[in-house]
Structures are given as C-alpha cells and as structure tokens.
C-alpha cells in the first residue's frame, strides 16, 4: 500500500498549483478551474485520511462526496454568472471587468 505521506504530498502540490492559478490567471474560467484543483486536493485529503486513520468508518469518504457535490453546484452557479457577465460586457477577463472601484 502506498504510504499516507505520498497522498498528502500530492494534495499539497495540487493545493499550491490551485492557489498559484487563482492568483495569476486572468480568465475567469481559468480561475474557476484553479479553485477546482484546490477542491480536488481536499477530496484526496479526505479519502486518504479516511482510509489510513479510521478505516473502519468511512466518514471521510462521505465528506468527499459532499465536496464533489459542492464542486458541481458551484460550477453551475459560476457558469451562469459568467454567462450573464459575458452577455453584458462581452468579456470574461477579470482585468476588463472593473465598473466598481473605489
């Protein structure tokens, strides 16, 4: 069996890539995908911890399913908002979306 630290390293790497993506990407869809990477890191964490720490009760796996469901719901709401903004501004680049500013 692959030891637990390997999973954690993979999930931390995904988290870092995700945060890096959120901070550097300019297109809204790319930012959304980066957040998706963070959520995948979370899922890996939950499933791995569930398997290695309490193998007799699959709480972590249940939580992982909730996370996946949330990710799907989030994409649904997000794409609707992006569509609405694309219709009104004809762009989905966050640098061009700046009507509101102090």
């Amino acid at each position: 069996m692959i030891p637990l630290p390997y999973y954690l390293i993979a999930s931390t790497a995904l988290l870092s890539v995700g945060i890096f993506g959120v901070l550097t990407r300019k297109h809204v869809i790319q930012i959304l995908l980066s957040v998706e990477l963070i959520l995948n890191a979370v899922t890996i964490n939950f499933v791995a911890f569930s398997l290695y720490i309490i193998p007799e009760r699959p709480i972590g796996q249940v939580f992982a399913i909730f996370v996946i469901t949330f990710a799907a719901a989030k994409v649904g709401v997000g794409l609707a908002i992006i569509l609405a903004i694309y219709k009104s501004l004809r762009t989905a680049n966050i640098e061009d979306i700046r009507l509101l500013k102090w």
Binding site: V42, N45, F49, V62, F63, K74, V77, G78, A84, S88
Partner: protein
C-alpha cells in the same frame, strides 16, 4: 430520530418550495406582494413552531444537529431578520417583474442555511450550512442580470467566495486528519486526549478556517469583495449580505472554534486579534473617503465586524454573551440604515450620499430615523450601538485586551466623521426639496428598527438576560 427538532427548518423549506411553485403556476397582478407575504407567513409559522419543539439539549441526525440555547437564540433571530428583509424586499422587488418566485425562494434558503449553521455540531454540517448560505447569495447578488454592475458584483463575490470555501474545506480536512472525526465535540475530546502542543498542520488548519470564515464576515484582509458587491448588488440583497450572511459566518466561526478547538484558544485568538485590529482600522479609515452610501455602509460593516471580533479574541464568558447583545444592536441599526437608503435610492435613483440632500426637511421621519441609525452606528448613547460596544469593550478590558479596546475607541471617534457626513447631508445641504414617497411596509420596518435601536439602550437588562440565557 428526533425530526421534531427541525420543525422550523422544515416549515421554512416547505414554504420556500411553495413560493417557487406558486410563482410558476399562478399569474397575478402583484407577484411581489403575494409571494412576499407567503414567505413572511412561512417565517412567522416557523417562529411559532418553537413553542412546540423541545427547547434545549437535544440532538438529531446522530449528533450532527444540536438544539441548545445558543442555536435557539440565533434561529429565532435569523427568522425575524429574514422576515424584516422580506418586508423590505416586497416594495423594492416590484420593478423586477420576472423571476420573483426564485428571488423569495433563494432568500428563504439563505435564512435556512443560517439557521442550520447555528445548530451545526459537525464539520460536514457546518460546511453544508455555509454553502446553503453562500450559493443562493451568489445568485441573489447577480439577480439584476441585465445590469452589468450587478453581474460584476456577483462575479467578484462568487470567485472569492468559492476560493474561501475551498480553503475552509482544506482546513477541515486537516482537522479531520488529525483527529479522525468530524463531530465538533468529538474533535475537542480527541484534542484534549492528545494533550500536546499544536503542530504545524493544526496551525495551517486554523489559519485556513479563519480565512474561509473571514471572507464571509468580511474581515480585513479578506474583505476585498465586500464594497464592490454591496454597491453592485440590488439593495434588498445588500441588506441580506450585511446582516444574515455576515452573522451566519460569525455563528459558524463561534461553533467551530469554541466547541471544537477550546484547547488551542491561545493560538486562534491571536489570529483573530490581528483580524480584529486590521478590520477596525482599515474599515474606518477607508470609509472616510466614500461617497456612496452602500459602500460607506460596507466599510462600516467591516469596522463593526472588527468590534465583534474583539469579543472573539478575548473569548471569556462575558465577551460571549456581550457579543450576542452586539449582534442584536447591529441588526436593527444596519437594517434600518439600509431601509432608509433603499427608500431614497428608489425615489431619487442614486445611492450616493449626495442623494440624501435635504431629506430632513422633505421627509422629517426618514431624516430623524437615519440620524438615529447613524448615531447608533457610531456608538453614541442613548442608542443600541452604545450598549453593544459598552458590553463588548468592558468584557475585553476585563479579559486583558486593553490594546484592542483603545484601538476600537480611536476608530469609533474616526467613524464619527463619516457617519456625521451622512447626517450633515440630511440637515445642512439643500436638496431638491421633493418629498420621497415611503412605502407602508418599509415605513413599518424603519419604525420598528428605530424603536428597537432606542429600546435596547433604555432597557438593556431585558436583552442581556436573553443573551445570558443563550450562552449558559
């Protein structure tokens, strides 16, 4: 299983579905009024349901849902708050002829999420309640879908919101990894049994969870969405964000930290200390340069979030009940201020502070009540804001957070400047002199908020007794 306990939630949920179906099949001439009154009926029925359910100490869903004094306080509070927001929305959603069913449906779901949050006793439950609170509010912010400003507000809120949720989840996954449990009480006992010092994993988890909730409560440095979103969203949604959604975040923070992590009090209070300091100073300083009333109220909300966080960072028994009094005061003065802003915005077509010009002469009622709310937000007696601040600061001094209290007093003095800017506009600037029509329902809400704002200061004992009962 004790499904009885969830009776108020079940009622709110059934009414939200009913509103949605009625709006699909029944075309009438006043959709906003009909659907709004249905929502109010559901909320009032849910408040009534508290008479028949057992009061305290019961759990449901294998301990995931707990009905204690704290949850009772906040569930009733959120129901009342949602009723006030719906009352305000009835008048202001008239201009939206379509999709009103969805609007009230989502509003009730947000209230449901906040209620579940106050009874959550498990990481899964906290997460689900937070998303039930967040996902509908992303849609509500973008409700004016032909208005690019509303679109942009929704986009900013959504992107930062899902990032914050993802961070929160990562923190939760680490806590789950450290304890092997998701129940809050269980986590606390496992941490107590391990008894050791906090490792780096726990530190990361605490910081990530605070970042997740910090977004919801708009604490600096997680506040960047708040002014833009408040300004771009329809004002009936802004008031929801400033009260229901923000207090829902505080409730989640409270449950997670006070119940699951009391052993690491000295660590997370330090992080919250920084957040409180930054929120108070940045909120008050940036608010000074605002010309838009909704933006000003957004920064004012950030500063008030900072005052509330003082109580969290002190974390004594006294600070816990005094923060509940603060919530009561905050709700009435904020809803009142937004209600006046909505009435003026609807009539004069602008949410700039200059639109308030001469309001004190054209509409004496609105002028006087807005002055009351502004003075209360500053924290001057004899208004509710004074009592809220008094108790929180007193408990903080006793708890040894003298520095934070000094900062809070200085920022309160600074805040006097920008709140008075609004009052000056009402009384000392000539407007166009035309009276602003005040719809009856909004009038009732404004009057109610003004009465409570004064009442909380005149009879604080009544309200502190409620808060004490909720905590102990």
């Amino acid at each position: 299983m004790n499904l009885n306990l969830l009776l108020p939630e079940i009622i709110v949920f059934s009414f939200s579905l009913m509103v949605l179906f009625v709006s699909l099949f029944w075309n009438n001439r006043k959709p906003s009024l009909t659907l709004g009154l249905m929502s109010i009926a559901g909320l009032l029925l849910a408040i009534g349901a508290f008479v028949v359910i057992p009061r305290v100490g019961a759990t449901a869903f294998g301990g995931m849902f707990v009905a204690d004094g704290f949850s009772l306080f906040f569930r009733v509070l959120f129901l009342n708050l949602a009723a006030m927001i719906v009352l305000l929305a009835i008048d202001f959603m008239r201009e939206f002829q379509r999709h009103l069913g969805e609007f009230y449906f989502l509003l009730l779901i947000v209230a449901l999420g906040a209620m579940l949050m106050s009874s959550a006793n498990d990481l899964i439950m906290i997460f689900l309640a937070l998303e039930l609170l967040s996902l509908p509010s992303y849609i509500l912010v973008g409700f004016a879908k032909r208005d690019p400003r509303s679109n942009e507000a929704a986009l900013k809120y959504f992107l930062l919101g899902v990032l914050a949720s993802a961070m929160l989840l990562y923190g939760m996954s680490l806590i789950f990894g450290l304890t092997g449990s998701t129940g809050l009480v269980d986590i606390a006992s496992k941490f107590e049994a391990s008894g050791g010092s906090a490792g780096p994993a726990l530190l990361v988890a605490i910081i990530m969870i605070i970042a997740g909730f910090g977004f919801k409560i708009a604490a600096v440095p997680f506040h960047f969405w708040s002014p833009d979103t408040y300004e771009g969203a329809p004002t009936s949604v802004t008031v929801l964000l400033a009260t229901l959604s923000m207090i829902g975040g505080f409730v989640g923070l409270y449950r997670l930290f006070f119940i699951a992590l009391p052993d690491y009090l000295d660590i997370w209070t330090k992080v919250i200390f920084i957040l409180a300091f930054l929120s108070m100073t940045m909120g008050s300083l940036i608010a000074m340069s605002q010309d838009n009333l909704k933006r000003l109220l957004a920064y004012s909300g950030i500063a008030h979030g900072g005052y509330i966080l003082i109580a969290f960072s002190v974390a004594t028994f006294d600070s816990q009940w005094s923060v509940l009094v603060y919530f009561l005061a905050y709700i009435f003065m904020t809803v009142g201020a937004f209600a006046v802003a909505m009435v003026v915005e609807r009539a004069r077509g602008s949410s700039e502070i200059s639109a308030l010009g001469g309001l004190g002469y054209s509409n004496p009622f609105l002028g006087v009540t807005m002055t009351i709310f502004m003075m209360s937000l500053v924290g001057l007696p004899p208004f509710a804001g004074f009592i809220g601040k008094l108790y929180v600061f007193k408990s903080a001094v006793e708890g040894g957070a003298l520095f934070l209290v000094l900062v809070a007093i200085v920022t309160s003095v600074i805040s006097l400047y920008f709140y008075l800017k609004v009052v000056r506009q009402i009384y000392f600037v000539k407007g166009d002199g035309e009276a602003v029509p005040t719809p009856n329902l909004s009038f009732a809400v404004i009057a109610l908020c003004a009465i409570y704002t004064i009442l909380i200061c005149l009879y604080p004992v009544f309200f502190t007794r409620i808060a004490l009962a909720a905590i102990s």
